[in-house]
Symmetry: C2
């Protein structure tokens, strides 16, 4: 996200990501992906990827696409018939996550957007948040979590360091022992 | 701000600030204030403080109130006649900041809200951003910088550490050598 908590600028502009200089962090994303079993992604994020010329968010990782759009799912499913199964789902995100677990996937990556991440958090199914903060302010654009009626959720800080050259990596683990009701609610 | 970049929850709820446990950071705010000459604050932030029973954001520090509301300014000016001058201003924030400098104040604290901070950044008059990140996700609420047409602004990371117990302190300095136009614009 940007310094001010945006995952994109106006018009879904992601060019700010170029300000994250990952010197010496080349294997960081590979290491992350190696620990992931499935990817959950919303239609807006997938459509954005298509507009950028990418047919899939990541090859070889089973994708659950949260969307009513069958044509979008068909396009994604046709992109890599050898290795990337695409499952279109809709409805309550908690049930979708139950389905992913029932399919034998222990660690799902909520790949966005902020609305899907917000729904996962509202269902209290987010165990870990890994944030990379770019050294750039955008001033407008969608947030990393977006939900109109989310009970505040507490996390425990697991990692806090400079990432690459001049960005920040934060990692937070969900702290269910700290009830939101413990602070003034 | 919250983990997801909000400076308040829905309804300007600031109770998430209680999740910042400042163990051993007792002098942090005093040290900050000692280096500040003036405070710039918007009407929304001051009205919020009044609603919480606070007449001024901080006593003894000259306040520039960016507001059309003369009654609001009069109430603030009457709060501490001995030591806290209140100057009501309106118009372009760049000119307001020029006026503060002309009054002999070298370091002004942009105390909020996000719209005032966004205007200061649009005028490229923000030299330093000090962020404390609470271990809490809110999902909705205003952002730390809010401006509809801000050219992305680059910063250099000056501080990155755990703050108190389980929060994060980031400090960024404006990096004017890194033009926004250097990344895809």
């Amino acid at each position: 996200m940007s310094l001010d908590g945006r995952i994109a600028g106006p018009g879904d502009d992601l060019s700010f990501l170029e300000t994250v200089a990952g010197d010496g962090e080349d294997r960081d994303f590979d290491d992350f992906i190696a620990g992931i079993d499935a990817l959950v992604v919303g239609s807006g994020t997938l459509r954005w990827l298509h507009g950028q010329g990418h047919d899939l968010p990541h090859r070889g990782l089973p994708i659950w696409l949260v969307s009513h759009d069958e044509a979008l799912a068909a396009r994604a499913a046709a992109a890599d018939p050898d290795g990337t199964p695409v499952t279109r789902v809709e409805g309550e995100l908690a049930e979708i996550l139950d389905g992913i677990a029932a399919a034998g996937h222990a660690r799902a990556w909520i790949g966005g957007g902020g609305d899907i991440a917000g729904q996962a958090l509202a269902a209290d199914r987010v165990d870990e948040v890994i944030l990379t903060i770019a050294p750039t302010v955008l001033g407008a654009g969608p947030a990393v979590f977006d939900h109109p009626a989310l009970e505040p959720r507490r996390f425990a800080l697991a990692e806090c360091r400079e990432y690459g050259k001049g960005s920040v990596r934060l990692r937070w683990m969900r702290d269910r022992a700290q009830q939101a009701t413990s602070f003034g609610r």
